[in-house]
Symmetry: C2
């Protein structure tokens, strides 16, 4: 979970971008219900009403954060695809996307944090969260098909994709719960090692 945004100088006009960035980090650390307009405003040095000017509701702010996050995440997936590394290598690099940057980084995948709150998220958000996971599953199915053989649309390959994603999201929660980020790559490695090696 590197993907830290550049903190370029606050050239006028991108207050909105800065709010989006702050909100993203806050949600990843504390969830949708765990951050307030006050928190964002405090780091910006203004009042919470100023934030409302850029994003009329919390739903719009959170949804914008999810969409921007998904865009950046998909860009990372494309980069991995373009690298033309082996399928196994690509899966390993995928898993690394979920690792926190450091041991005291308690942030997790934005959409993993939101998936847990899915039942209480305001209305455009759940669909955007689902879209994130769907794109991940599609990408994973493509790479896994290369790894274990078969086509990405096979039921078995899709189940593998879902399982790997579920494993990583669950391991992320476990890593944060116990303050032990090694759980993520450790679980991923174990899973990858157990894959049948009949593919290319």
């Amino acid at each position: 979970m590197v993907m830290a945004e550049r903190s370029r100088s606050p050239a006028k006009g991108d207050t909105k971008q800065r709010i989006l960035q702050l909100a993203t980090e806050l949600i990843r650390a504390r969830g949708c219900h765990g951050f307030t307009f006050h928190d964002v405003a405090a780091e910006l040095g203004t009042s919470h009403v100023a934030v409302h000017h850029h994003f009329k509701t919390k739903a719009l702010l959170v949804d914008a954060a999810v969409r921007a996050y998904t865009e950046r995440f998909v860009a990372e997936l494309d980069a991995i695809t373009r690298s033309e590394a082996s399928a196994d290598q690509q899966l390993r690099r995928y898993a690394e996307l979920f690792e926190p940057a450091s041991d005291d980084d308690d942030r997790i995948c934005l959409c993993g944090a939101l998936a847990a709150e899915i039942a209480t998220l305001p209305d455009p958000v759940p669909a955007s969260v689902r879209a994130f996971f769907e794109q991940n599953e599609v990408w994973l199915a493509k790479v896994l098909a290369k790894r274990v053989g078969g086509r990405p649309t096979t039921a078995r390959v899709q189940q593998l994709a879902r399982s790997f994603l579920a494993l990583l999201e669950g391991a992320m929660l476990g890593a944060r719960t116990f303050g032990d980020r090694s759980r993520i790559l450790s679980a991923a490695q174990l899973w990858l090692d157990s894959l049948p090696a009949d593919g290319r």
Copy 2:
């Protein structure tokens, strides 16, 4: 995730138990930040202040819910152990504990819901949540040791236990996110099938 409490007649004195039960179901469906004292009071037909009489703070209510849930869950684990089914059978029955009762049951494991909010939980709660997962990992390590060989304290067996638990928690989130509870047992089955079969 069956474990529905008996809805015995509200014989005087167990208002507290009833609150605990309602809170548990609400947390499982909507998380700690997703339910209010009002919600509980509404189903009880009283005011939210009456609930406060039984549990002075939300932290105490949630913590009591976690402890009671853990107790019941451990009792289920003991029942599986006593059944003396094969290790493989026991692992399958364990996975079934995480399945929602029906397709429109959007409740997940109480501690899975809370793990996602761990960073924002009030203070006695996080430790109780961790205790739940630790007891699960210990039980899983015992059964997995039988299944794949080795001792429960082996690093490899413990990693397997953590992985299986992470997979189930992640699959639960995925199942709720997409309204498809089949994802849980499907992921569990795939994982169990991939276990090396050198034990017995």
